[in-house]
């Protein structure tokens, strides 16, 4: 087993990996940008090294600097977390060449399966259903041809894409030319790669993904599914496991498809196969996420496994700690992503200083957080500051616990998505489990309800008492001029006496 691991990430996921290392007796090396000197991951790690200025491109994406730091610190492996360098085949390869273990799949598997069209073509060969469409990058004429073949509405997607960029839904043939142009230019500006392809657009489908683990001994297992249909602008906001929509038969079929795919691509370590599932329970492979997912805790809560520890064991050449027939899904888990953004003004990012922080606790509650009271949420990075996870014996109990925890959770100083979650967890359609990937957009179109009148009078009373009991707030400079500090008074008195 490794003696020391460098964590090439920040925020809550760096904290998560540090905790796993601690439990395994592995030393931890944090890296940080100038904006993150006082971040939680730096405080918790055994060692910490500055790797550059605040912008990610000059720090958390700086491969040379990170690899050099790992060597200086005598770390044997690098855990990339998610985002940043986690799915970058070049970084994985440079680690391999530099004698460092990359905690993730090898660079060949990332190259073969990481890209959207690469994963689709391996799936098609392995006879795993994919959303009907092309399995390679297309020219403009080919897009038109393919769209006509698969039918409308069609979805044009950027091959290098993610986060909904370079994506266009086309309802009629007449709209194709404009959509192709827009998708290409967006893909080029967002990913530096104008490659696009086309697939059938599945409206009203659910986003359901299967977690797999694959070790270097050839063992591949699946750990049930996560339902991530609650998304806003293709960004997941609430995830749960198991999916309220998936029955044991569908779970087994999707799980086996995911295992087949992983084997076909020579995949190792933790990975996630994303599927779209239509209302008739047909599932279609979407893409592979060759890394640990943000939402991995819901799978951990229902399986009892620690996915980060499994990742590290697999990277060290050890087998997965459990067999497929030992996996039992127990109860239900939900995760709410806590973003530093204002749900009342179009989810505008809200960086700043955390003035008040009270984490929830109690039965079934888990907080994965990268913040502490008094810390700064910098403007340079993703606004995800924490994740709140609730476990219950069934979905209803998990939801009740989540609601209760959201009531306890207090973050002030930055705006957060907590009010969004509170309202969503009261929504009848969410409670019924009948949701799909466009549900949130429609739900938000009716507007987020502002805080009710109920406690407005308490706020007014508290405001008056606050001002009343507060010392008059005179700026320090004026206060000194008015009253004089004891030292200036003493000096003045001394001068008078001498005179």
């Amino acid at each position: 087993m490794f003696k020391k691991i460098l964590i090439a990430n920040r925020g809550e996921i760096a904290v998560r990996v540090i905790r796993a290392c601690r439990e395994m007796g592995i030393g931890t090396v944090a890296v940080y940008s100038e904006a993150d000197r006082a971040s939680l991951h730096v405080r918790l790690a055994d060692e910490a090294f500055l790797i550059g200025p605040p912008p990610s491109a000059q720090s958390y994406l700086n491969m040379d600097r990170i690899i050099e730091t790992a060597k200086t610190a005598l770390a044997e492996a690098i855990h990339p977390g998610y985002g940043f360098l986690s799915e970058n085949p070049e970084f994985a390869q440079r680690c391999e060449q530099g004698g460092l273990t990359f905690v993730g799949p090898n660079s060949r598997a990332i190259r073969a399966m990481g890209g959207k069209t690469g994963g689709r073509s391996i799936a098609a060969q392995a006879k795993v259903p994919v959303v009907p469409g092309s399995t390679r990058d297309l020219t403009d004429e080919e897009v038109v041809q393919a769209a006509k073949e698969i039918g409308f509405p069609a979805l044009i997607k950027a091959s290098a894409g993610g986060g909904g960029k370079g994506m266009r839904i086309v309802s009629t043939e007449a709209d194709l030319a404009g959509a192709i142009r827009a998708a290409r230019s967006e893909a080029a500006s967002s990913f530096g790669n104008p490659a696009i392809y086309v697939e059938r657009y599945l409206g009203g489908a659910r986003h359901i993904e299967v977690q797999i683990l694959a070790d270097t001994k050839g063992n591949v297992i699946y750990l049930g599914e996560r339902d991530c249909s609650i998304q806003r602008r293709h960004q997941k906001v609430i995830e749960e496991s198991p999916s309220p929509f998936v029955d044991p038969d569908l779970r087994r079929r999707m799980g086996e498809a995911a295992v087949t795919l992983a084997k076909a691509g020579g995949y190792t370590n933790a990975g996630t196969m994303e599927f779209l599932v239509d209302s008739s329970k047909n599932f279609y492979f979407l893409e592979l996420n060759a890394r640990l997912q943000v939402e991995h805790p819901v799978t951990e809560m229902v399986t009892g496994l620690d996915l980060v520890k499994e990742q590290i064991r697999i990277a060290a050449g050890e087998p997965i700690s459990v067999r497929q027939d030992e996996i039992r899904l127990s109860g239900h888990a939900i995760e709410c992503r806590i973003y530093a953004e204002d749900p009342f003004s179009n989810f505008m990012p809200s960086p700043g200083k955390i003035q008040v922080l009270r984490d929830p606790g109690g039965p079934g509650i888990r907080v994965e957080s990268g913040i502490y009271e008094g810390c700064e949420v910098p403007i340079f990075y993703d606004p995800l500051i924490a994740k709140l996870i609730a476990w219950g014996r069934d979905r209803a109990e998990a939801i009740r616990r989540m609601r209760r925890a959201l009531e306890e959770y207090t973050i002030l100083g930055v705006k957060t998505s907590i009010p969004f979650h509170r309202r969503m967890l009261d929504d009848p359609q969410f409670l019924s489990g009948q949701v799909h990937t466009q549900f949130v957009e429609g739900w938000l179109a009716t507007g987020m309800a502002e805080a009710g009148d109920t406690n407005a009078e308490i706020a007014l009373i508290a405001g008056a008492l606050y001002l009343h009991t507060k010392k008059p707030s005179v700026p320090a400079s004026q206060r000194q001029a008015a009253a004089g500090s004891p030292w200036t008074l003493a000096a003045r008195r001394e001068a008078m006496r001498r005179r």
Binding site: N346, V356, F380, L406, T410, P419, N455, I458, L465
Partner: protein, 168 residues
């Protein structure tokens, strides 16, 4: 001491008639006995009519408090009665036809311009999309007008607070 306050667009009078535990507070026409116990920082435990509330107060600026009651945030404008109200009259003036400047509070990158010079816009219409913290944000016109000037181009980096679009 009496305070003039505004919350959710409605004006109120709040008078603290007795301090101590409990304090006596009159909100508009109703008197209340309130136990308001500081917990350190801006946090308080408030008990009124036997009901217990968690209250956090953050000062947002002169005369503006963010008050969180049991997890829901309330914006309260509050000042001693008689003191000149320092309300942002400028903002109201803008709604009545003055130029409005669309700006973004933090550094980012212009993803997309949704309007062109000379174009008429309605209140709430999207004007420009700016990316910051990896998220795209659509900035909207607060009142109707005509686009007078666009000071940035698509793809450009912008500093926080910089004027992006001027609408008249």
């Amino acid at each position: 001491m009496t305070y003039a306050a505004e919350c959710q667009g409605r004006a109120h009078r709040v008078a603290v008639t007795r301090v101590g535990s409990p304090a006596a507070v009159q909100l508009d026409d109703t008197s209340h006995e309130v136990d308001f116990t500081p917990l350190g920082g801006g946090s308080f435990s408030l008990i009124m009519n036997g009901r217990s509330y968690e209250v956090d107060v953050v000062e947002e600026g002169e005369g503006v408090l963010s008050i969180c009651v049991d997890g829901e945030l309330h914006r309260v404008e509050i000042e001693e009665e008689g003191r000149r109200r320092r309300k942002a009259r400028g903002a109201t003036g803008q709604a009545q036809g003055g130029p409005q400047t669309i700006a973004f509070p933090m550094p980012g990158r212009v993803v997309k311009l949704l309007v062109s010079p000379g174009q008429e816009v309605s209140a709430g219409q999207g004007v420009i999309v700016v990316e910051a913290m990896k998220m795209e944000n659509e900035l909207k016109a607060s009142s109707p007008g005509v686009v007078k000037e666009i000071k940035v181009r698509e793809g450009a980096g912008v500093a926080g607070g910089e004027a992006l679009v001027v609408i008249e």
